[in-house]
Subunit: 171 residues, 2 copies
């Protein structure tokens, strides 16, 4: 079920930041469909929410690879398993973006943290709850711990060759 | 696309903890389907992963309510918008569980943090990456900030009346 659509200033996936956390200040809006407007009640009391988005453009192949080279490892040319990365080409192409809530209007949520293109369908909005979403104890993040994560990194800035792959945003 | 299935010791949703974060030590396994086994490469280097699960039992109504009373507010009898809560009855019934990785075998992931029943389909596994999944700055979590979150809370322990609602796990 599509509950809303993202309206933002990005249209080219290759030039869109790969993760909301790496582009935390850019603002955008989720326009909520009329039948889900009431579900926003109480959301303004949360500072952050998860947006679950639908990532697959209709032109893309239905079957994602089991191993691939993440944008962030493009320079190294290193492959990892699809479950060990956050790239958009996934078995179930659902993106998970942690964004900051700026304002909740009657039928829209203004937020900061853009890693999707204009028109991206939103499947669900979940409030960020520290007790559920913050790991207890030590965290190890595999290959992400070994690289530098530059703000506003995009597939293009990370060296993706034009036309290569079919990735289209974050996951 | 279903990439695997959870095998755990819970069968009754009413007696299953409402969130992995409130039941962090109970162990379970995701059995990965043969065609996705290769996608596990590198996952053992991560301490935590997100499991995206499919929450809807076939017997359930297709349309979730826009407002409802979360299990955690059952005693107070308070309603909130569906986007301001994590309960399982949602427009797109996808659960988001943060679990701790214990071991990655060839075709299975052993984890700690059970908030789903045996047989729950897994749609995706994403690694937890602090730079993407940890909010910067102050966090406000609405009504969750006002209540006490007891470990191992279940719908039943939280006072859900038997047979009421059709909720079936976390989201």
């Amino acid at each position: 079920v599509i509950v809303g659509v993202v309206r933002c200033g990005r249209t080219d996936r290759a030039m869109t930041p790969v993760q909301a956390g790496l582009n935390p200040d850019e603002e955008a809006v989720v326009e909520i469909r009329p039948e889900w407007v009431e579900a926003l009640a109480g959301l303004a009391d949360f500072s952050h929410v998860w947006l679950l988005t639908w990532l697959r453009a209709s032109a893309e192949p239905p079957r994602a690879p089991t191993r691939q080279t993440p944008f962030l490892l493009q320079q190294q040319g290193r492959e990892v398993g699809t479950f060990a990365m956050r790239g958009p080409s996934r078995p179930t192409p659902i993106g998970l973006s942690l964004v900051r809530v700026l304002a909740v209007a009657r039928d829209a949520v203004r937020f900061a943290g853009v890693d999707m293109v204009d028109g991206t369908p939103v499947l669900d909005i979940k409030p960020y709850v520290p007790a559920f979403d913050r790991p207890a104890g030590e965290v190890r993040a595999g290959w992400y711990d070994e690289i530098e994560l530059a703000t506003a990194s995009t597939p293009t800035s990370l060296g993706r060759t034009e036309g290569e792959g079919d990735a289209d945003g974050p996951a």
